[in-house]
Amino acid sequence: MSRKLLIDKVNIEGIRNYDAYRKNGGYASVEKAFKMAPNDVVEEVKKSGLRGRGGAGFPTGMKWSFLAKPEGVPRYLVCNADESEPGTFKDRYLMEFLPHLLIEGLIVSSYALGSGRTYIYIRGEYAWIVDILDQAIAEAKSNNWLGKNILGTGFDCEIYVQRGAGAYICGEETALLESLEGKRGNPRIKPPFPAVKGLWDCPTVVNNVETLAAIVPIINMGGEEYAKIGIGKSTGTKLLSACGNINKPGVYEIDMTISVEEFIYSDEYCGGIPNGKKLKACIPGGSSVPILPANLLLRTAKGETRMMTYESLADGGFATGSMMGSGGFIVLDEDQCVVRHTLTLARFYRHESCGQCSPCREGTGWMEKILKNIEYGNGKLTDIDLLWDIQRRIEGNTICPLGDAAAWPVAAAIRHFRDEFEWHVLNPDESQRRNYGLAHYADPLQTVSA
């Protein structure tokens, strides 16, 4: 049984409301943190080794210590709740069922960073969660956890919830800040980084919902204790939202010590693949990370067992590895078509590109059109090389990571499933009737009547 720190109390009745939350040890971290100096709170987070849960995995304590602190300039903390990545829905779960956990984490973090105004930028489609959060904020305020002079310490803090307008790109931190300022959600060109010049040109920290919620157990149990959970630099627990061809889709909290195989097949988590099908591929960290075929997913290229940690998932780089990303675990069984799957993702990124910089604006649309041709039996073999060339020229040449996120899935699909693409091109009629099935890595090639 794995250790749960974030969603351990989720089954307690009425935990969404303040009274039940408080009775079960809620807001204890605020009381504890307010007795410490703000810098000590930051030190505690540094000690915990907590890494950003939004996708990039940057150490949170380090991010906090980069925050510029000029005199007379306000600082802001912004919670990135614009969770729009296909396959990722962990923040929604957290905010919907444990709103006070996020509020508690926000108060502690605001205190540590000296942010008097803290914003939650929430995905526009999560309309009902806005009400839940607003209610939680009102309850916290009426119990003097928010507002002026919290707990008599003289620290003032307000939390505001701002809804997005339905753009994936606003999950990128600088686009989020632009959108929060009321502008078009175009990512800014870095540097300057938000830690120096963020919201309204003031120093700003932008953190994911799960990261901020994880501050609560860190303060409660101490950073060093928190760092003991997990392997190496992957400390603490991580929420994973599993979906796709598995018996038990849902949000799971894991301490980062289990293997990928265990996560997919054990009854405690995903519960294996339904209808006795075989595992074909998996995207371990949300739609923008590279897809991995089954043979590379369960074992690394070196033959080691792949663990659910930042390092192990990234083992082998992009050639044979992937990324932890935002924890959207998408499983594909043998009936799934990788070409169609890649087309779906390419369409998503074409639709969500902000259109600011040329490689992403033009390249994502081009990739989608080529993939559409291949999927519907009009492709050529040269199209596969062309796709590779396009993604190569998008990756790394754009303003924000959306260009990379659009390029990686296509690159990984071609890298690992090139035979399936070729089969689509060479058998246009047959590819319309049936799927390619398992590739050579899991099953003998005889199953393919190419």
């Binding site: 753009a167 790109i169 078009r184 060109i189 074409r350 639709h351 969500e352 590109s353 902000c354 259109g355 600011q356 910089c357 040329s358 490689p359 604006r361 033009e362 390249g363 994502t364 649309g365 081009w366 059109k369 062309l386 190569r392 020229r393 790394g396 040449n397 754009t398 303003i399």
Partner: protein, 404 residues
């Protein structure tokens, strides 16, 4: 005198004290030293290497500006950056360069290519522009991306000849395209009586948005939609009314925003650019006239060699003053920009005519040619012209004179 009064006294005469300090350097030597150190701080020079060329530039300069101060082939192309527009740049990605060493303090290379227009130089930075294969490859890629949805209608485009995309694709593009799909098209829009918007040609550099934002109040002009479908538009087809809005035509690197008073009137390479000015109550009045014969076909702002305007001009000068009589001609415009348009025009690279005479004379310095008027009696007013017997002949001169 107590301290309070003393302080007021000091404040009143502060400027005099400073002036005095300047005159008597000995007494105020420490003060002057401090000032000098401050001056040195302000003009800190950074050593930068761009494509193995060393240069010193002031702190706060972008890599692109540093490369421009070198000039030549190392200058990265820029489609969206415009030095006169605050916040522009970083979007087109044609100016990508490789940073092989970040600075002397931190000599690690930057993992990604960076947009040179928005990255400031550091001391000891080593930049690779045309010497990096990665950069050339990325640039070729960007040009390909920019061209896949471009209509390539140069033969009927007014911008042809002075189009940046045209220049860029000549330098970095391929002869063929790998794009086999229908190109994106938009309807043409008239933004008021003077400007036409041709979104099909647009590369979304955002320059016109910055112009509208920074030169005009209450902007109604910006980007609608996102991604592939984003378009420059005025909010619900509003016309643009502002005295300086005509400048969006000048900043547009392609033929997306065109002058309706000039559309299809002439090709730019048939026109002779001339610098001219007039007294204008709204703007500087310094423009370039584009003539063919006596007729003024169009008026634009004066541009430098990076094709950036020197001063914004108003709509009156641009659209209404189209008679030569409206203007005082200053002289021919030298087109410094490396482009189709500079060919066959007054080019700054034209050399002065070769002086043949010294070569023919082989080092001799004949007085005959140089001093004939001083020798001739014609220039001597005390001699009456009628007394002169005839033109000077060789007899007049002393044959023994070695200087001849």
């Amino acid at each position: 005198m107590d301290w309070h009064i003393m302080r007021i006294h000091c404040k009143q005469y502060q400027h005099k004290i400073i002036a005095q300090a300047a005159k008597t350097p000995k007494i105020f030597a420490p003060l002057r030293l401090c000032e000098e150190i401050n001056m040195a701080d302000e003009k800190k020079l950074f050593k930068v290497t761009i494509d193995n060329i060393n240069i010193e530039v002031e702190a706060g300069t972008s890599i692109l500006q540093a490369a421009r101060s070198i000039g030549g082939d190392v200058v990265p192309p820029a489609m969206c950056y415009y030095s006169k527009l605050q916040g522009s740049g970083g979007k087109c990605r044609t100016c990508l360069v490789e940073v092989a060493a970040g600075s002397t303090a931190d000599p690690r290379p930057m993992p990604k290519l960076v947009a040179s227009c928005r990255t400031n130089v550091m001391d000891g930075m080593v930049v690779k522009s045309i010497t990096s294969e990665r950069v050339i490859d990325a640039r070729n890629g960007v040009v390909e991306f920019l061209l896949i949805n471009h209509p390539l209608d140069c033969p009927i485009c007014d911008q042809a000849g002075e189009c940046h995309l045209q220049d860029l694709s000549y330098e970095h593009g391929k002869e063929g395209t790998r794009y086999e799909f229908k190109r994106r098209t938009f309807e043409k829009h008239d933004l008021g009586p003077y400007i036409q918007l041709h979104m099909t040609r647009c590369i979304l550099c955002y320059r016109c948005v910055f112009v509208a934002d920074q030169l005009t109040e209450k902007r109604v002009h910006g980007i609608l939609d996102r991604g592939e479908h984003s378009e420059i538009a005025t909010y619900i087809e509003k016309a643009l009314h502002h005295d300086f809005i005509g400048n969006v035509i000048d900043v547009c690197p392609v033929g997306a925003l065109t002058d309706r008073t000039f559309r299809f009137k002439n090709r730019v390479w048939f026109l002779k650019p001339m610098e001219a000015h007039r007294d204008c109550s709204k703007c500087c009045g310094k423009v370039t006239l584009w003539n063919r014969g006596d007729e003024v076909y169009r008026v634009t702002a004066r541009k430098n060699q990076w094709d950036e305007v020197e001063d914004w001009i108003c709509n009156d000068c641009r659209f209404d003053k189209k008679r030569t009589g409206d203007w005082i001609i200053d002289g021919p415009t030298i087109v410094n920009r490396h482009s189709v348009i500079s060919a066959g025009h007054y080019n700054s690279s034209t050399k002065a005519p070769k002086e043949f005479l010294p070569e023919v004379m082989g080092g001799r310095n004949p007085r005959l040619l140089m001093d004939i008027h001083t020798v001739s009696e014609v220039n001597q007013p005390e001699i009456h012209l009628s007394k002169i017997e005839g033109p000077a002949t060789s007899d007049v001169f002393d044959e023994t004179d070695k200087s001849i």
